[in-house]
């Protein structure tokens, strides 16, 4: 089993850290993982993206032309990656970040209004964990217990008091994602 995932949005939306938590979750599950970020100027306000691969077998290329799952958090990322989802693959988008329509008919499209939910929870920091919850609902690639272990592993100890809040956000994300 192999999952090739792109997460793309604005710098500051928690794209890279969400990818990191997913990668750590895969590690906890005993999978092979790679985490390949865009680095440099994109990170500082422009578009940021990260490719995460989780696999039961050794991983060859960290650079891909097509993805099983694309998580799209802003319009430029939709323009860039919509065509790169494998036929039959999954595209998840945040309703707040996308204003154009999704043209592909041969993929499964899901919407998650994570920005609205984050505002409701009065905490914009959990935005990416809401999205992660949505992903896990649609594609349960790692067990929730391993995600929580991965989360713990990827956060420095002084941030461990935030774990319950992040767990709540993941569970909320699982509830609010819907198929389009």
């Amino acid at each position: 089993m192999k999952q090739e995932i792109i997460i793309a949005g604005f710098g500051g939306q928690g794209v890279l850290s969400m990818g990191k938590i997913l990668a750590y979750s895969g590690l906890m599950e005993g999978k092979e993982v790679t985490w390949m970020p865009s680095y440099g100027p994109e990170q500082r306000g422009g578009t940021a993206n990260v490719t995460v691969i989780l696999s039961d077998n050794p991983i060859s290329s960290p650079i891909l032309n097509q993805y099983d799952v694309a998580i799209i958090l802003n319009q430029p990322s939709l323009d860039k990656f919509e065509s790169k989802v494998k036929p039959g693959g999954v595209l998840i988008y945040d309703g707040y970040g996308i204003h154009g329509e999704i043209r592909r008919k041969d993929i499964n499209v899901y919407r998650i209004d994570a920005m609205d939910a984050a505002i409701e929870m009065k905490n914009d920091k959990v935005f990416n964990m809401l999205i992660l919850g949505g992903l896990l609902k649609v594609e349960p690639m790692v067990k929730l217990e391993n995600v929580l272990l991965g989360l713990k592993k990827s956060l420095p100890e002084r941030r461990h008091k935030l774990l319950p809040m992040n767990e709540a956000a993941i569970k909320k994300g699982m509830e609010i994602i819907r198929k389009m």
């Binding site: 590690l27 680095y39 440099g40 991983i59 960290p62 650079i63 891909l64």
Partner: protein
């Protein structure tokens, strides 16, 4: 106890491996995409744990000359930089080679020429394996293609450097440096004591005991007869390294009709291209040089009798392809495919290039 599996960037793996190897000193200057090496070393505070010195020098030129000083006293010392910074170090590298000094240099390549871009590239192949600095010297060059190899090549690089009294370079790029993968770090080793250094490196400038001639560490020799003798000795050392230390990896080569050649991150992308080709029924293999110098020319020559064509896939305008062509000496068609300036090819682009440049021209 089994060592814990960790998840980290290639740059971080190098830093952790350096501490665990028992490195005596790191001297460097920050530059993207390898700044995490210095950052991680500073954050780990190894000077409190192993006594390892970590110093941010005032420039790359200062750092490489600190390496010269450390190496001349028999210490395990290393530096790291990215392409423009490595250019600045070239004079020092030539001096290190000219004085038989072992050390480890890491180049996490970015796109050039000039200041270029911070995105990944492999355009420093020529600079690394053909000289870079002046004079007839060679740099033992290791090209890691995974985060695990970033960690493993620290000890391998130091061991080769000390075995042959020669500088060794780890030639990586922005992909391997920035990517996170699983890694098992090597076990901790004790740093060498002064007594051990005196015994293992009797040439080192360690303070002169009474009755012994002074050790002189220099690349300067004004008598041309003696300088020729010194050069002949270097050449004999290089031939010995070429005979002994060639390393490479084969991937689906046993029945290959066509062969890709790629090093470092390109080899990872090529592995996927091989998988895609095999799904289409194309019998494609990959030969990955692990040592770029000494170059695996004997095995490449052997494949020139077995395959119909070779494609050298590099993130540059065609550098290693020249060494591949020298190895096969016209026996089989050899072409190059690359992307430039920080753009990275995808696996399917490689497959398209193979079809266009090799298969359709049979």
């Amino acid at each position: 106890m089994a060592e814990e599996i960790k998840l980290m960037k290639g740059n971080e793996a190098i830093a952790h491996a350096a501490i665990r190897y028992g490195t005596d000193g790191y001297f460097g200057y920050p530059i993207t995409p390898q700044s995490e090496i210095l950052e991680t070393l500073m954050a780990e505070t190894p000077w409190e744990k192993t006594g390892m010195v970590v110093l941010q020098a005032e420039s790359e030129v200062a750092a490489i000359n600190m390496i010269y000083g450390g190496a001349a006293s028999g210490k395990r010392v290393m530096t790291s930089s990215s392409s423009p910074g490595i250019s600045l170090k070239q004079e020092g590298i030539s001096y290190l080679a000219g004085a038989d000094l072992p050390c480890l240099i890491v180049n996490v390549m970015r796109g050039g020429p000039g200041l270029g871009t911070i995105q990944p590239s492999q355009a420093d192949y020529f600079q690394t394996v053909k000289g870079g600095g002046h004079g007839d010297y060679r740099l033992i060059t290791l090209a890691p293609s995974s985060v695990q190899e970033m960690a493993d090549f620290v000890s391998l690089g130091f061991d080769l450097a000390f075995t042959y009294a020669n500088p060794c370079m780890i030639l990586a790029d922005g992909i391997i440096g920035q990517m996170m993968e699983k890694v098992i770090l090597p076990p901790y080793r004790k740093r060498k004591t002064e007594a051990e250094i005196r015994e293992e490196s009797p040439w080192a400038a360690q303070g002169k005991p009474k009755g012994r001639k002074p050790n002189i560490v220099t690349s300067l020799e004004l008598d041309p007869a003696l300088m020729e003798e010194k050069n002949n000795r270097f050449q004999a050392k290089y031939r010995k390294i070429e005979e002994t230390e060639v390393r490479y990896e084969e991937f689906h080569c046993e029945d290959a009709e066509y062969l890709l050649l790629a090093f470092g991150s390109s080899a990872r992308i090529c592995q996927k291209a091989v998988e895609l080709a095999r799904l289409e029924g194309i019998r494609l293999g990959l030969l990955r040089p692990i040592t770029l110098w000494p170059f695996p020319k004997v095995i490449i020559e052997a494949y020139s009798h077995k395959v119909k064509g070779m494609l050298s896939v590099e993130l540059n305008a065609g550098q290693m392809v020249e060494d591949v062509r020298l190895a096969v000496n016209g026996k089989v068609k050899v072409e190059h495919f690359g992307r430039l300036g920080g753009i990275v090819f995808t696996p399917d682009e490689i497959l398209v290039a193979l079809k266009e440049k090799i298969i359709t021209h049979e």
